[in-house]
């Protein structure tokens, strides 16, 4: 790693230093508010650094910093701040520093994973999300159930890491290097050799399996309901956003952008997983009575929708006809609005409970909208957003996701691909209708139900603020999604452009030609469609 790489890594370095400092100092000073404020300040500074470095695009050392990286880094910081607010009171008094530090590290892991261009760094950054998560799951412990949840998550996560590593070993075998740039070129040039055509699909399937655990896709989802139910709202919120985002982004980076020619295997796998994941998640969510278990299945279902975007993105490789029809764009935009709505929902639940007695059953929400009008409106906004009803952010997400899938179906190309994507889109909307049933049940209970007792609503102001911020964002993005769309679209275009460029002669030299790189990233690459003879 060269010295210049540090320029790119400044936000991450800062966060890791602060996290370590909090860990160490926490042994001496047990002030709840202090560590929270320091962590928030660190995140804000890191956010400013990411913002300032927005033009810093290149591939220094093991990194690939492009518009996608910057988008995900920004997203990680926003979500990190929300999670910090959300978990403000969830840790026991003596464990605050450990909790805050672990949270910072997990966020850093997501930021690194977004920019990793090397198998080793990629693996390490994914572990940087997982290991603090184990700690958090133990810290949130309330008896046997949480022990079980933590143990379950730990063992399965380790297993999935092993599978992922096994997939990486095949990639290494193909490219002879851990650098994704080299691997991409090796696969691109040797596309038809027996080595690539034989090992490529194996690597793709193994990587899919390893990452499917992180994004809780069927059939690697079994841990999610138990773990969510067994842990705190704050931890469940973290589990439903951070690993999922990392898994999806890495999936796009590895399979979508680094393995040209392997997309035929990949989109089929993604499509099957998408269909199974969304259907199973939605159907099983219908019968849940525990709020976290319900949201676990909901998060599984949303992984299914996002995998649909991944499948669409894989199927139109190498380049989509226009930027917004790219399935990755749909996925990225959907991921953003999903994260906001899900974090907001958990914030509402956290606020409505007490630390020693959190909200558990759906029935406990009865009459909440009457006693807590703001929270009631926020919860309704999140539910309608997750269900994809306009004018909330979730609708815009679904719109562009389905637009991506149907664009594959409508674009000139292989007939069988088109039919499959049309069918997948139909399955997707049917699923959205099923999903509305359980989201409406939550609204129905909280708005129309008569409360038997006042909800405890003792979660403190921080989760309330987190819920409010999420609600405002969900409504604002829903009414006017276009600025965020533009950013997500530029991010995906930038990543596509970076992946299609020939590798620089010396991959270690950072291409600090900020102006030229960013201008190529910003210019839409779309051309008028190459005329279907009509």
């Amino acid at each position: 790693m060269s010295v210049e790489s540090l320029d790119y890594l400044l936000p991450e370095v800062l966060l890791i230093l602060i996290a370590t400092a909090i860990y160490v100092a926490g042994a001496f000073v047990a002030a709840r508010a202090l560590w929270g404020w320091i962590a928030a300040a660190a995140l804000v500074v890191a956010g400013a650094l990411v913002w300032r470095g927005g033009e810093l695009v290149g591939t220094p050392g093991p990194l690939a910093v492009d518009a996608l990286t910057q988008y995900v880094r920004g997203l990680a910081i926003v979500v990190g701040l929300l999670l910090l607010l959300l978990s403000a009171r969830s840790a026991a008094a003596g464990q605050v520093s450990e909790q805050v530090g672990s949270l910072l590290l997990a966020i850093t892991g997501l930021m690194l994973a977004a920019g990793a261009n090397d198998l080793v760094l990629l693996f390490v950054s994914l572990e940087l999300i997982s290991i603090p998560t184990y700690v958090l799951l133990y810290l949130g412990g309330r008896g046997q159930k949480s022990q079980e949840a933590a143990a379950k998550y730990f063992f399965l996560s380790v297993l999935s890491s092993a599978v992922l590593l096994y997939g990486f070993s095949f990639l290494y075998g193909l490219g002879g290097s851990t650098s994704l740039t080299v691997i991409r070129q090796a696969i691109a040039t040797g596309g038809s050799t027996a080595l690539v055509s034989g090992l490529g699909p194996v690597a793709a399937v193994l990587i899919f399996a390893g990452l499917a655990y992180k994004i809780a896709a069927v059939p690697f989802h079994f841990y999610a309901p138990d773990v969510y139910q067994g842990t705190s709202h704050a931890n469940a919120a973290l589990l439903s956003v951070l690993p999922k985002a990392a898994g999806l982004i890495v999936l796009v980076r590895l399979l979508g952008l680094s393995m040209p020619g392997q997309h035929v295997t990949a989109w089929r796998v993604a499509m099957v997983l998408a269909a199974l994941t969304m259907t199973l998640g939605n159907v099983l969510a219908l019968w849940q009575t525990n709020v976290r278990r319900l949201l676990a299945y909901s998060s599984i279902a949303h992984s299914g929708y996002m995998l649909m975007g991944v499948a669409a993105g894989l199927a139109v490789l190498p380049a989509a006809q226009n930027a917004e029809s790219d399935g990755y764009f749909g996925m990225l935009f959907y991921l953003t609005v999903y994260m906001l709505a899900t974090a907001g929902t958990f914030a509402v639940f956290e606020y409505l409970g007490r630390r020693d007695e959190p909200l558990e059953r759906v029935d406990e929400l009865a009459g909440v909208a009457r006693s807590q009008p703001v929270v009631g409106i926020a919860l309704a906004a999140f539910m309608f957003s997750l269900a994809g009803i306009p004018p909330l952010a979730g609708f815009a997400g679904k719109l562009w996701l389905f637009y991506g899938a149907l664009s594959v179906a409508g674009a000139p190309g292989d007939r069988s691909v088109k039919t499959w994507f049309a069918l997948l889109a139909v399955l997707g909307v049917l699923n959205a209708a099923v999903a509305a049933a359980y989201y409406l049940r939550l609204i129905g209970v909280s708005w129309f139900g008569a409360s038997t007792e006042r909800p405890r609503a003792d979660g403190g102001r921080a989760p309330w603020a987190a819920a409010l911020v999420c609600a405002v964002l969900v409504i604002a993005i829903g009414v006017y999604p276009f600025p965020l769309m533009r950013r997500a679209s530029l991010a995906v275009q930038g990543a596509r452009a970076a992946a299609s460029e020939p590798a620089p002669a010396a991959p270690t030299a950072p291409a600090l030609s900020a102006a030229s790189s960013s201008s190529t990233a910003i210019e839409p690459k779309s051309k008028s469609p190459s005329g279907p003879a009509g």
Binding site: N322, E324, P390, P412, A422, V429, A433, L440, P529
Partner: protein, 591 residues
Amino acid sequence: MQFSPFNVLSLAILLPIVGAGMVWAVTDAGKAAIRLVALATTLATLVLAGYLVLRHVAAAQTADPAAATIDYGQGTPWIEPGPAGGLDVRFAVGLDGLSFWLFGLTALLMVTSVLVSWTAIQERPATFYSLLLLLESGMLGVFAARDVILFYVFFEFTLIPLFFLIGVWGSEERRYAAIKFFLFTLAGSLLTFLGLLAIVIWNYYESGSGVLTFSIPELTRSLAERPMDAALRIGRVAINGQVLVFLALFAGFAIKVPLFPLHTWLPLAHVQAPTAGSVLLAGVLLKIGTYGFLRFSLPMLPEATALCAPWILWLATGGILYGALVALAQGDMKRLIAYSSVSHLGYAMLGIFALSNLGLAGGSLQMINHGLSTGGLFAVVGMLYERYHTREIAQYGGLAARMPWLAFFMLVFTFSSIGLPGLNGFAGEFPILLGMFQRAWSGPPIAGQTQLQVMSVLAVAGVVLGAWYMLWLVKCVFFGPVKEPHVATHSAAHEGHDEPVLPRDLSWREIAALAPLVVFIVWIGVAPQGFIGPMSPALEPLAATDGALFERVWQLEPPADARPAVALFEILPATESAASSLAGEELAGVR
């Protein structure tokens, strides 16, 4: 800000949202302030809507063809395409012959809704009126939207306020009714969403302009030039893509109408909804379904429309008869009127899918008529319920002696509903039946002509049944010996309640809520041409294109050059299938 039609229209759509905010802001000032703000907002919106409607009527009467259409412009762009193409999403609104009466009807019925809720809503009034106003914005937006995304956003958005109106202020089974209503309509409209997206994407690839346009006029024009002929291919079977898209749109619009047998959510939602909710649901929201057919299915997918028309006509006829027969068996007033809606909307659908000038004109007018008469009926029943707290028909009798004004309004709405000549119901139903008979008897011979003839005769039978159940309702409730439900226990217990101890006849407020409807019922009845005329420039092209295609698709001996696209599916010969999958794509589309 200029005083252009576009700005006035945008203001009319956005004003209720502002009003909703103001209602929320004056919550602390008490119930009276809340109601007044809500009423003022609806009246102001009505003024704006009235201005636009009058401009349309005036424009339709000018001889100058340049002034006959009102230019609403291209709208405000949200995302503009670049030089190389890209997305084109706009805030584009505009009215035309299909929509301006519905726009005006919405604004009119909103005033009625606020007035009928005046004393009926005691609980959380600020939230109630805010939601009501948001609903108005959504409904106005649906009829005015000129952009597919905008249309769909308003289309779905109407569900949210109504969901809460039913769920919070409804009767006993409100929670179940609200969720069933929401899920039913959502399930259908999500498929509509896919269908609309498919149209947009197909047009994008076929037009080759590189601009992904969501503009409804643009899409209509483009699809008229290049009929959608994509096919979805599974093995050797090629399914007509236009029919698939038609069915996807049908799913949402038919549930909204509701077309038999997709109507099961309607009686429940109507019965459980508060009066204002029932009035708007029957008066406006059901029309969104028929409007959707007129706006999207007929102009954009004419071949599929022609192909599917006989089946839809059967469903419409089924709905007319089924709705009427079930209405006969009801003991609950609201439920009876709800089933009568199924029957009446069946007429509207019958007229539209007769695909003739008369039928389309009648069907479009019937949409307005049903909004006036059924909206009025629900308002009257709501007033009765407010007085006696029951909707049971058997509990009432001879009310005409006790409440002559209420009886008078009930009678007018009933006569309008059963199609008494001189009132608007007749002006709508007569052209519908005439159009249907024309289609069945006077056109060129077509396959399944007997079926059309049977349908037209059955539809006439529906008129008789309609008169039967409505007059039976009026007879039981308003005539015969006086019989009133016991109410004393209720009113005495509530001091400070606006309720009088003994139910009285209509107050001036209630008369003001109903009188405008009666004015239009009579006006349309005596001078229907003044209402149909301004619509016909928009309807005639539909009748011409789709009617001709209908005759072509269903003619007895199809000519040799008949397009293969106008069949539900075809099985390709094995060789052709193999060859075309090897060769490059010559047809793009949803496959």
